[in-house]
Amino acid sequence: MIDSNYSDAVTERFDRAPHAGGPGAEAAGVGRAGSAADGAVVEISLEIEAGRVRAARFRAFGCPHTIAAASRLAERIEGRAVTALDAPCAAALAAELGVPAAKLGRLLIVEDALAAAVADFRDRQALPATLAAIE
């Protein structure tokens, strides 16, 4: 039979959605990208300990590929150094999950959400330092 539009990897993640969740009390950086009108909004939240991701969570409004990719992203960045999060990840996620080329735009939204979360974390880091410098 002609298969559905989703790879097994996407469907499996879409169904279980590991690492789903909103930012907890210990979230050190939260980022969002996309818009409902674009068909996808992704939120990534990071807990950071000693410059590394201790835990990552996502929420997503979007197609199964978006949800699967956000879930996989949250999973794979756990344990990584924050400095290692700047590298682009959309292409790698697409390859790993078998996302069709037409859907790459959605994965860029996932990438952007991570970038926004990292930026948020850096802003929050910078703020006390700035305040200290003023004092």
């Binding site: 559905s4 989703y6 469907t11 879409f14 959605a17 789903a20 909103g22 969002r32 409902a36 009108a37 068909g39 996808a40 909004v41 992704v42 939120e43 929420r59 997503a60 409004f61 979007g62 197609c63 199964p64 978006t66 949800i67």
Partner: protein
Amino acid sequence: MRLPVYLDYAATTPVDPEVARVMAGCLTSDGIYGNPASVAHAPGRAAREAVEQARAQVAASIGADPGDIVWTSGATEADNLAILGAARHERGRGAHVVTGRVEHKAVLDACAQLEREGFDVTRLLPDTDGRYVPRQIEEALRGDTRLVSIMQVNNETGVVQDIAAIARACRERGVLFHSDAAQSAGRLALDVEALGVDLLSLSAHKVYGPKGVGALYVRRAARRRLEPLLFGGGQELGLRAGTLPTHQIAGMGAAFTLADERLETESLRLVELRDRLWGAVRELGDVTLNGDAAHRVPGILNLSFGGVEGESLLHAMRDLAVSTGSACTTADAGPSYVLRALGRDDTLARSSVRFSFGRFTTREEIDFAARCVRAAVSRLRALSPLRETRAAG
């Protein structure tokens, strides 16, 4: 219960086993295999007779004379024959056609072709409940209006138009009136006299008959106001050439008769199933019923789910065979133009699902469907970062 549960009866229906038996009797050497045009010999005459019996069945089903039924390959061809045929025939005399924004693609694309051929087309916008006001039609009619085409039952929402009122407005001005009733047969009692239509499109595969056969009812007075689409051989009053497919036509006849016999009890049953599904699903909150709540056929429930994305909703409910937006053209993945015309925004139009059910749908399946929908919507809403924002905003 077989999975996925089929809830896409508005896209197509399974053929009724009784209809399939009639069809099987018109195929092989031991059945009615002749060419209905071969009236010079017995196998041909037997086929001709099967065709004429089916013609009488379909005619009886819509209160028409058998001589006013023209067989086609489906409602798409019937729509094209009615619209292109009527407009092209009168090329010299009139240059304006009126239709609506929520018509089937077959009607809209035929009208777009007319525009390429130099005709003027007015497309009426229904109100947010999906109904046209007969008054709108009257106002749209011009001195050079040749044809009005307005469907009876919308295939996405199930909304029923006031065809008789529209027909009256047209007849008063001598304008031909066509209605696509592909979704009506077996769901509403049809009577071309009461409706007052000049041309009516029918399809077998929405009524437990085979795909690939339909008919155009042509009021006698309209017969000479149509140009054929297919030429060659002069079958069907000279309006449609091609070997008549006996098994398809006999199947359509049987399907229409069967549907008429069951219309009343089946309607009641479907109303009950629909209310059951709607009752269970609306508890989720932020669920909108698309289309007029009163003027509708029972077998279609088109719902917009706030706060969930359409594609994920469908995938989460993949134990249900349902469709989003336009059924017949899932190739184009844009949001439904019908729901957009009813004023739904893009996002909501995209998270709309058409549940359509029929003769073989059981209460057990409806209850299963309700559980599926509730689980999918709840889970996707929980996954969404938009939910709080909406609640807060």
